[in-house]
């Protein structure tokens, strides 16, 4: 199944993003993260798609989990503890779906990864922060 996927993707990707753009990415000054991602995104047009697939599958899952943590923390005092957690959990699939869709619509795979990782860290940080402020251990 994967072989077909990639042979056909290759055909479609050859009409995709201009390969000349790739070397220019190397010129950008970026964070460590961005340089690391440059290193991973080889010039073969298959890689951006594979990279997006990884971002959508695992990054999206991580974002879904962390967003559920954040949502339950936000709702902790609005509703009871179990309700807050429950709401956070029910919504995870929607978050996951939206994240996956978004990953495949941004301009570059690199951007997808950067924003995803930033969002995950943001959610975790906010959750921890809110936990400290409201004084509830989670």
């Amino acid at each position: 199944m994967c072989c077909i996927m990639f042979t056909s993707i290759e055909r479609e990707c050859s009409s995709l993003a201009n390969p000349i753009a790739i070397p220019s990415l190397k010129k950008q000054h970026g964070t460590i993260v961005s340089n690391l991602i440059d290193y991973v995104n080889f010039s073969n047009p298959r890689w951006p798609v594979f990279s997006r697939v990884l971002a959508a599958t695992f990054g999206g899952y991580a974002l879904a989990i962390t967003s559920s943590l954040l949502i339950s923390q936000l709702l902790l005092h609005v509703t009871g503890k179990y309700q807050a957690i429950h709401i956070g959990l029910i919504v995870t699939f929607l978050v996951y779906a939206c994240a996956a869709m978004w990953v495949f619509s941004v301009k570059t795979a690199k951007k997808a990864w950067i924003v995803l990782l930033n969002s995950i860290f943001f959610c975790l940080a906010m959750t921890w922060l809110l936990g400290k402020i409201t004084g509830v251990a989670n």
């Binding site: 479609e12 943590l69 179990y82 959990l89 029910i90 995870t92 699939f93 619509s105 301009k107 989670n138």
Partner: protein, 543 residues
Amino acid sequence: MKDNFRQSMKWFHTWVGLIVGWILFFMFLTGTLGYFYQEITRWMEPERPFIEHNISNEQLLDIAQVYLSKHAQDIEQWDIMLPNARDQNLRVGWRKPAEPGEKRGKYQKTVIDVNTGDSIESRATGGGRLLYRMHYRLHYLSTKISYWIVGFCSMLMLLAVITGVVIHKKIFTDFFTFRAKKGLLGWLDIHNVLSVIALPFHFMITYSGLLFFLFTYMALSSNLQMSDEEYSEMRKEIFPRTIHLDSAKQPRDMLEISNLYQQVKKTWGADQLSYVEVFAANDINAQARFVRHETDITYNPADAVMVNAITGKLILQIPKAYTVTGMIHNGFFSLHEGQFAGPIARWIYFFTGLIGAAMIASGLILWTTKRKPKQVKQLNGPDFGYRLVEQLNIGTIVGLPIAIAMYFYANRLLPLDMVNRVNWEVNVMFISWAILLLYPAFRPAAKAWREQLQLAALVYMTLPLINILTTDKHIINSVLQQDWALFTFDLTLLVIGVCFAFSAYKYKALTLNKKVTKRRVKQREVTTDEGLFTVRQMNKENA
């Protein structure tokens, strides 16, 4: 990734649908059959008697209680299940005491013949229940792996549904458009129409399907936030269990169940009993819980009435205040399972499930139809990917229904005393599916389609005949005994067979037409007929 959002989502929608389309078709088809699983099980256990008309609920309760007092005297907890429109025989069940090495005893159910008061031994079969369980508990794989594969497919289905809506440019203006006479556009229109008319159902079914294993898929989140005790408390809040007293080990005579039922009838104002559960039987703490058909998707406390079996008085249960999230969660479950559905609503569920399956099938066919002109022009013939998709299409869209019919054949034809009969019925189904998946590799696509359609027609139309030859619960007797559930099953098989036959005939006509004339216009007309009738056949598959 492509030029604009819509094009990226179109690419995404195609890939997401293609990767898991066949597994999703399997899940939709077996799940749709599941709406009638009790009826299917009944057909697959022909030793069970025909329905008895004109017996009151009280009489049934008495007959059951007599049987239980003879065969389950020392059991504390037993159930009586009354015949209902779907499962038209009286049943009793109880949990046997745990054998050494078991946590709890096996639950035992038997059908009781109301004329003789004795139990009926049916042939070993998985019945309809095994068929529908396959749709979330893939056969041959362990529970854990199945749940994750099913979850992965459901997630991709959710993505397909959402992206499908996003990319459908003219979802309102094209709502009623079906250009049957325009070939590829016809297939696209079929796919769009089938998706849009049942869009609430598709979204509901997919999301509720994911919710079923919410705590498995998102275990990481719930483990990070709650301890184990908090987790079980939370589960009790969402899925409350009825509280009942345990046996106090003080024997006392209970009142007759049919007697207790009179109290319950007064509460409900109608004769609506579905089943009875008795706790701490023949004991000072004996209680009986009378349950009727669901009247609310979330929860209606009045659907279950608890009675003290010694005094006959109602035990008032404080209606539990459901949390909003609990209502949503349970609501989704009820909608997915459709347990609440009466006969008409159930047929609509069935039909809509078939629409879902046809939506997936039309999407898969659309993929090959779109690429066909370019692929057949290539020097070395079509690509491997294209041929693989076409082969899987034929083997699944027509092959899976044939395999399911083989399951029914196995039920009728396998020897009754065969070892592992249940497993072998299923093995027959999967072996035939495997053969039908491999077979198109050896035939040109058009011939393979036609031959499999013909085979499907033959297989479905002959099944009622085999039924007549092997059992006495066949279509003629069902009419004579006015057992409409059994009759409808055989009738549906015939209707499906006729639909397949019609599709095969139309497909043959159009492939012959294709050879005679190469005019573009004729070709389009001809592909559309194929499209239309294959869809009709897909829309009326199975029972």
